[in-house]
């Protein structure tokens, strides 16, 4: 198994250059391998979201080394980081964050459209297959507002899978759903992990859900607790 993301002594501070500097992450070492199915838990304010944003290349660390597929991201410019993020990482947010003006199908196609610049027939076929996979083939031409919360989140999962990313980052993907839908989404992520070998990192507050993941990463006050 090869590492997808490696973090070495990652620190993140906010308010640099002001009198109040807050360090949120205090030297994180973490490695996410291909096929990992990991839960990231911890109390609110422990820095889970910040860590997820760093891993998702949405933010840059203040210090430390962040490697994606063995490549150091420190030397990359914004365009390269954006392209790398689009191609290798799929996001699932707590509040689905679908684009309201586009149909479910268009939402799922969007990462591919952004990647190639055009909506291609191949992207459409992939999107339809993914919607089928999440059980929403019939809802392909509906707008997000016409779908239930669970369905919206399933569309979001399908969108995260659009470019077959090596890593899926899910920020409380079930936090807003009823137990039944939450279970569906979790199973969906699990099956994707099993069949496509995409690594999943799921931020959750739900201990039951976390315990079903193959790997648990716990975070307290900006630091990772040692495993076990």
């Amino acid at each position: 198994m090869s590492p997808i993301i490696e973090l070495h002594q990652i620190r993140k501070s906010y308010g640099l250059g002001t009198p109040v500097v807050a360090e949120v992450l205090h030297g994180i070492d973490l490695c996410i391998q291909e096929g990992d199915f990991a839960a990231l838990t911890g109390p609110s304010g422990s820095g889970k979201s910040t860590l997820l944003n760093l891993i998702g290349l949405l933010e840059k660390p203040t210090s430390g080394q962040l490697l994606v597929g063995g490549q150091d991201t420190a030397g990359l410019d914004d365009a390269a980081i954006t392209a790398l993020r689009g191609r290798s990482i799929g996001f699932i947010f707590q509040f689905h964050h679908l684009l309201p003006g586009f149909t479910a199908l268009e939402n799922v196609m969007m990462p591919a459209i952004i990647d190639s610049g055009w909506p291609t027939a191949q992207a459409q076929a992939t999107a339809l297959r993914l919607l089928d996979q999440v059980g929403l083939k019939d809802a392909a031409h509906k707008r997000p507002s016409q779908l239930s919360g669970g369905m919206q989140q399933r569309v979001a999962v399908a969108r995260a899978l659009a470019l077959s990313p090596r890593l899926i980052l899910a920020d409380e993907p079930t936090g807003n759903l009823d137990t039944h839908s939450a279970n569906d989404i979790f199973e969906l992520l699990h099956s994707v992990n099993q069949t496509q070998r995409s690594a999943c990192l799921i931020v959750t507050h739900d201990p039951a859900l976390a315990s079903r993941c193959a790997r648990q990463i716990q975070m307290v006050d900006g630091q990772l607790l040692p495993p076990g």
Partner: protein, 406 residues
């Protein structure tokens, strides 16, 4: 998905459709702005063309005359001051007029040159006499300066032999018509019996009463200027370059050269202030359209903040995000200017139908100048893009993490 558009177009069109009300309102604004600009520009340029045609249709653009005669007095070394009385200006010929005429004809921008012998005289018939301006011309050359054929009401513009062409008022005053005889008399008593070959109406009662056209030869005889001419009339290609041409010729010949812009200074200043007010209106309309587009897009960027963050998280580069909003601005400008052109065409045709000249002819033509339309559309496109630049930059600079959290 029947039509496949690139990312920026797809997102841009979807945003325009989502914000239907905003889109319709700002398009109405741009349409109105473009229509006002095109309509006003066309209206004013047509009216100006009509005024210029009416005023300058009956006069030369540039006139070359002999220099004013002046006294040359040598002051004695002891004197400190002297009163020099200006000399009375007698009728004189333009020195070397045929070479001056050639020089003028070869000057760039000069379309036609026509020599003229003019002086004061009287038209006498029986007991009636009228003071007139005697104008000896070469009909063909003069027709290139003033299109007499257009003003002719009776007969022909024929001044051969002892034929003359007179104005309608003079004909009325003397009670004569084409074929009748009258006597032309100058101040030193020279006179000749002539016959009327044509009667013109130049649109100015005073000129219709005073102008009498004869051949150059007859005028030379009557005014005692054998072989000489009193002025050269010029027509230039670009009306508003007449003054430049006049100054150039004055420098080259040392003669007195006047352009219409000097002799009609008031007309020129009226035309200029008309153009200036048109430019002011255009300027403010453009600013208002730009502010309208910019404000709609600023609001749109704020509304779409979260979506922009999501698109960025999915790998859309800042440039792609920027192009979405630039496209919106450009489309507002382009579509608005197309609608505005159509609206101004409608307005113009409406006004062309309801406004009439004093003589009942149409004051305006309903035709749009393609150049005006194209430049208004180009302006609207550029203004749309420029107005969108700031909001687009703001959208592109949004931090995806912050944007999604909103």
């Amino acid at each position: 998905m029947p039509v496949r558009l690139p990312f920026a177009w797809m997102v841009c069109l979807r945003y325009l459709r989502e914000g239907r009300m905003q889109t319709v309102l700002i398009l109405a604004g741009v349409t109105g702005g473009v229509a006002v600009i095109i309509f006003l520009t066309t209206l004013i340029s047509q009216l100006q063309a009509s005024i210029i045609d009416k005023t300058l249709g009956s006069q030369a653009h540039v006139v070359i005359r002999p220099p004013q005669a002046a006294n040359h007095t040598t002051l004695s070394p002891d004197s400190t001051a002297a009163i020099i009385q200006p000399r009375a200006q007698r009728l004189r010929s333009v020195d070397q007029w045929s070479s001056v005429s050639q020089l003028a004809a070869q000057t760039p921008g000069v379309l036609a040159v026509s020599p003229m012998v003019s002086g004061a005289g009287f038209a006498v018939r029986a007991d009636a006499s009228q003071s007139i301006a005697l104008m000896g011309v070469e009909p063909q050359a003069y027709q290139r300066i003033v299109r007499m054929a257009k003003y002719l009401r009776q007969g022909l513009f024929d001044v051969s032999g002892t034929n003359v062409v007179i104005g309608s008022e003079l004909a009325k005053d003397l009670g004569i018509t084409v074929g009748d005889k009258l006597r032309l008399v100058t101040v030193d008593g020279r006179n000749d019996l002539v016959s009327v070959a044509g009667i013109f109406d130049i649109g100015n009662r005073d000129l219709n009463r005073r102008w009498v056209f004869t051949s150059i030869k007859l005028a030379q005889t009557l005014l005692d200027l054998p072989g000489g001419i009193t002025q050269l009339d010029l027509r230039v290609e670009n009306l508003f370059a007449a003054e430049t041409t006049a100054r150039l010729l004055q420098a080259q010949t040392g003669l007195t050269v006047d352009s219409w812009m000097q002799t009609n200074a008031q007309l020129l200043s009226a035309l200029n202030s008309q153009s200036m007010s048109n430019n002011l209106i255009r300027f403010f309309v453009t600013i208002i359209v730009a502010v309208g587009i910019a404000s709609v897009l600023v609001v749109s960027v704020v509304q779409k903040q979260k979506e922009i963050g999501i698109l960025r998280a999915m790998g859309a580069s800042p440039q792609r995000i920027m192009s979405v909003f630039l496209l919106q601005g450009g489309l507002y400008g382009l579509v608005g200017s197309a609608l505005g052109s159509a609206l101004s065409l409608g307005l113009l045709n409406f006004f062309a139908r309801i406004t009439r000249n004093a003589d009942g002819t149409a004051l305006l033509s309903g035709d749009l100048d393609p150049g005006v339309v194209l430049s208004a559309c180009g302006l609207a496109l550029v203004v749309g893009l420029l107005a969108a630049a700031l909001p687009a930059r703001r959208a592109a600079r949004l931090d995806p993490v912050q944007a999604i959290r909103v």
